[in-house]
């Protein structure tokens, strides 16, 4: 990579940091955040992550548990160094606090690729950490960096707590701490005398902890590196896990809301149509862009919404999907927002190939808007009492949920408490705050009475912050047995601008990396490779959706690379390896590993074929081979083999579960997922027309975890990107049909 480019990236990062407020100096930054824990009686906190209780230890795991098992892995980081048994550990979400902000997540928005720029990435993370702390201060779960971000921080919290507990025992006994050891929540001396952490906690809390305690070598780990029983499993199989609409409060009322079908618009007129006289209906509340009904039960509230007549402001975007896609197509002709990869002379080589009329491949790919469709629709419980607002919600951004709700109802954020519950899926949707703010507004309408707000499924499908529709135009030239050039233009609405505007009121002055991730940052050694990103202003609200830009760019690029291979009768796997091996060995190993598991290249039974795809994302390398078969004219997806390199595997069982999850989530989208618009409104409404994968179509999945990458990567999102192209490539191998738009249903007859 050219030196000039690195310098330019460095400059971009510098300006971002200044924009974030480095001018204030570093003094405020280096001050530690205070410990936000408020221990109850019989409890002692030793630092923001450790609460010693009478029966064991509560470990604060300040990331959203939306199914990805993060509470278990984060608790293990602390427990490993603290020397407590797994049975003694409880994971608690803890209060929203700037102490728990997620520095790495913001760094993922920086316009650098992850695999080849560790130095820049480090500087970038530091700059963002400062900027975020001063200006943003958002506690966020998203972008798959939860474990990497916490890896050192939470292990040090455990180690520091163990050191002060040991010192407290040493003082009590008059023995030098170095002569003591810790085990299963106790400090022991050489004679076998023991004191529990509970007995020592109060004295330990008076001792100043070391700022930089030493950490154990991985060879000595007892918990990390093992598959641990998930802490949330028993509650979730017995129906006792508490989600936001399961909070039990006395005299609770139920609510539901109806937001304008014209996204981003407002209410002009409201005719309650006597719905307020319906049985059980207590109050109808205008929410500005929505109307809410509060009733004795949720069914009454949902039914009453159907009776209310509202006049909404008209949509400010094209009314149909066709027109919206044309907007994106036009954006592709405009000046690029970014050119984050520009190796060699991609356009010149492509034009030369065109002039020759030889070895040129050109294609246009399209993907639709997608809803998150979490199993739990948006829900929240809220209570406004004595001038204080409490919200129970499943949120990926608790500090933001608190601040937005406070601003909307005119309260000081100090008077708003967020209690984060389990969430019935997130996938990015619960990083938004529309639903938590609605719950706050409803609670203020009925002071002293708790309200349980549940969105109808129809509301959830039609009021999402959608995965953007996107179009790619790609040209490629094939040389001797390998691609010589790829020139790729990607057009889509900007998630970065949309979400930044909603979160902090402005879009950062950066190239939109999310728009082109999964393309420009792939570790392919290609002499001529250009990727340009073109932002389309569509007016449709877009947001982060599991794997964000990779969710479409991996489909575009990996399908296109397959097209290039087939156009020159090359093996798609071998051709990828010639590009990966020189650039990034761990990535090449994942491809080899997936191929070996699937016996790539072997003679397959008649009517059976395989497809392959690769992606480097969230710091991990992931390769997948899909096998499909023709079942009397219908295509069955039989097996997926996935090799993933996560650098360091902290919980192999959970990593495998996340890979399975990411693959099946991506399959739903590839096979069925699409949000379309008609008359300015979303045309889909429930699972009959927004179909998702069911068990009878779920393939067998085999996962192999590798640890060659030199840094720890994410796992929650990385299974998703390669599955759509791997499936499309397998279908091409089986039928000769090249799929250039998603979803596949309508083009492919699935078994």
């Amino acid at each position: 990579m050219a030196v000039g480019k690195i310098l330019r990236r460095g400059f971009l990062i510098g300006s971002a940091a200044v924009a974030g407020g480095v001018a204030f100096g570093t003094y405020r930054y280096v001050q530690p955040f205070e410990n936000p824990l408020r221990p109850g009686s019989g409890e002692t906190t030793l630092n923001p992550y450790v609460l010693i209780t009478a029966t064991g230890v509560s470990i604060v795991t300040p990331r959203a548990e939306m199914g990805q098992g993060i509470h278990t892995t984060l608790a293990a980081l602390v427990a490993e160094e603290l020397d407590v048994d797994w049975e003694q550990v409880t994971a608690i979400h803890g209060p929203p606090s700037e102490t728990y902000l997620n520095a790495s997540a913001m760094a993922l928005g920086l316009p650098v690729s992850e695999y080849d720029d560790p130095r820049i990435r480090r500087i970038g993370a530091g700059a963002v950490r400062v900027a975020q702390k001063l200006a943003f201060g958002i506690q966020l779960t998203g972008g798959s960096p939860s474990t990497t971000d916490a890896f050192d921080r939470m292990r040090r919290a455990g180690a520091a707590a163990r050191i002060v507990l040991t010192e407290a025992a040493g003082k009590r006994w008059g023995i030098a701490p170095i002569l003591l050891r810790t085990e299963a929540g106790r400090v022991l001396d050489a004679d076998g005398r023991a004191l529990t952490y509970g007995e020592l906690a109060e004295e330990a809390a008076q001792i100043v902890p070391p700022p930089d305690p030493p950490l154990r070598e991985p060879a000595k780990w007892r918990l990390l590196g093992q598959t641990l029983p998930r802490l949330d499993m028993v509650p979730k199989v017995t129906g006792t896990a508490v989600y936001a609409a399961d909070v039990k409060l006395p005299d609770l009322l139920c609510a539901s809301v109806m937001v304008t079908p014209f996204l981003g618009g407002t209410m002009i007129g409201l005719d309650t149509n006597n719905a307020n006289t319906f049985p059980g209906v207590r109050q109808i509340v205008s929410l500005g862009n929505a109307v809410g009904v509060i009733a004795d039960n949720t069914w009454q509230a949902m039914n009453a919404l159907d009776q209310i007549q509202v006049t909404w402001s008209p949509p400010e975007y094209p009314a149909s999907t066709d027109e919206q896609l044309k907007q994106i197509g036009r954006a592709l002709q405009s000046r690029p927002n970014s050119t984050l990869r520009d190796d060699g002379l991609a356009d010149v080589v492509v034009e030369a190939a065109r002039a020759d009329g030889l070895h040129l491949v050109e294609a246009e790919y399209t993907v639709p808007y997608l809803a998150h469709a979490t199993m739990e629709p948006m829900t929240a419980t809220a209570l406004f009492k004595g001038g204080r607002l409490t919200i129970w919600c499943g949120t990926q951004a608790p500090t933001l949920a608190r601040d937005r709700a406070a601003a909307h109802v005119g309260l000081d954020p100090e008077r708003v408490t967020i209690n984060t519950t389990y969430m019935g899926g997130g996938f990015g949707r619960r990083s938004e705050t529309d639903f938590t703010t609605q719950a706050a507004q409803l609670a203020l309408a009925v002071p002293d009475i708790p309200i349980r707000m549940t969105w109808r499924r129809e509301e959830d499908i039609t009021h999402d912050f959608y995965r953007p529709a996107a179009i790619a135009r790609i040209s490629g030239a094939i040389g001797a047995g390998r691609p010589e050039a790829i020139d790729m233009r990607i057009g889509a609405p900007s998630v970065l601008a949309g979400q930044s505007n909603r979160m902090v009121g402005f879009a950062p002055p950066l190239a939109d990396k999310l728009l082109v991730e999964g393309a420009f940052d792939q570790p392919y050694a290609l002499p001529n490779f250009r990727v340009t990103g073109h932002v389309a202003e569509t007016g449709i609200p877009v947001g982060v959706w599991r794997s964000v830009g990779h969710s479409y760019n991996t489909f575009f690029l990996e399908s296109f690379i397959d097209e290039m291979a087939h156009s020159d009768a090359l093996d798609p796997l071998a051709m990828r390896l010639t590009m990966l091996a020189p650039a990034h060995t761990p990535s090449a190993r994942t491809l080899e590993s997936a191929a070996a598991m699937a016996h790539w290249g072997q003679e397959l039974p008649e009517g059976t074929a395989q497809g392959v795809a690769f992606c480097h994302c969230f710091g991990s390398s992931v390769a997948q081979v899909v096998q499909v078969s023709d079942q009397v004219g219908r295509i069955s997806i039989d097996h997926v083999w996935c090799a993933v390199d996560v650098g360091q595997a902290l919980d192999p069982g959970n990593i495998a579960a996340q890979i399975e999850s990411g693959i099946l989530f991506g399959l739903s989208a590839a096979m069925f997922g699409q949000i379309t618009f008609a008359d300015g409104m979303v045309a889909q409404s429930n699972f009959h027309d927004y179909e998702v994968l069911r068990i009878d179509q779920a393939p067998q999945i085999t996962t192999r975890i590798l640890q060659n990458n030199d840094r720890m990567g994410g796992v929650g999102e990385v299974g998703t990107p390669p599955i759509a192209p791997a499936l499309a490539n397998a279908i091409f191998a089986l039928t000769g049909q090249r799929i250039r738009s998603l979803p596949m249903a309508g083009q492919v007859n699935f078994a």
């Binding site: 129906g239 199993m375 068990i695």
Partner: protein
């Protein structure tokens, strides 16, 4: 008004049978056996109450506990469970019988509780996830669910377990195809399908031993 209604209903139900009564309205909980002196006026009031109760009261057994529920008869069982009785283990997913998150057993049969009006359930026996097992006493199927680390977000899992429990009751050794046929009405967005299939097989094996 609501208090009075509950009183009538309590009166009638007491005079007819139940020694222990849970009379539940959205505002009033009566429990136990009130002593009532019957007079002519009371009888008249009771007759009106009897008619009212025939319309608005449903007597049913949920997880081995008898309940009398006062609510509009068209209210789906799901919302009676969640909002009236605070049995929140049963989840709302779609309200249209498309996702299976609200699956319960009614007289031993699998039903989507969002599709069943409470008024149709007089005299029935309902089992929800709360009646299947508890954190202290997991069923074999739940134990295998834990052993296989099936749940992720967990929201669909109550419904999955209710569906799978019924499957194993009818078919002690289901094949993959049997599992697909029985479970394909229960959606999961986290993709726990391969693991829940394995857990059902493991439970069937253990229960058959």
């Amino acid at each position: 008004m609501r208090v009075a209604r509950s009183y009538f209903c309590a009166l009638i139900t007491i005079s007819t049978a139940a020694p222990v009564l849970f009379c539940i309205s959205s505002e009033t909980y009566l429990c136990g056996k009130p002593s009532v002196t019957r007079t002519a006026t009371d009888s008249a009031v009771a007759s009106i109450g009897w008619i009212w109760c025939k319309i608005y009261m449903t007597s049913l057994t949920i997880n081995d506990t008898p309940y009398v529920v006062e609510i509009e008869p068209e209210t789906p069982l799901l919302w009676v469970l969640r909002d009236t009785l605070q049995l929140t283990g049963t989840k709302y997913g779609c309200g249209a019988g498309l996702c299976g998150a609200c699956t319960v057993h009614i007289d031993g049969m699998v039903e989507r509780s969002c599709q069943v009006p409470i008024g149709d359930l007089d005299g029935t026996v309902v089992t929800t996830i709360e009646g299947i097992g508890s954190p202290e006493a997991l069923t074999v199927l739940q134990q295998e669910w834990v052993a296989g680390q099936v749940a992720q977000c967990g929201y669909c899992q109550s419904g999955q377990i209710m569906q799978a429990t019924a499957l194993l009751r009818e078919n002690a050794q289901p094949t993959d195809d049997d599992i697909d046929a029985a479970m394909s009405g229960n959606l999961c967005r986290c993709g726990t399908y391969p693991r829940l299939r394995a857990a059902i097989h493991a439970a069937a094996k253990r229960m058959g031993e």
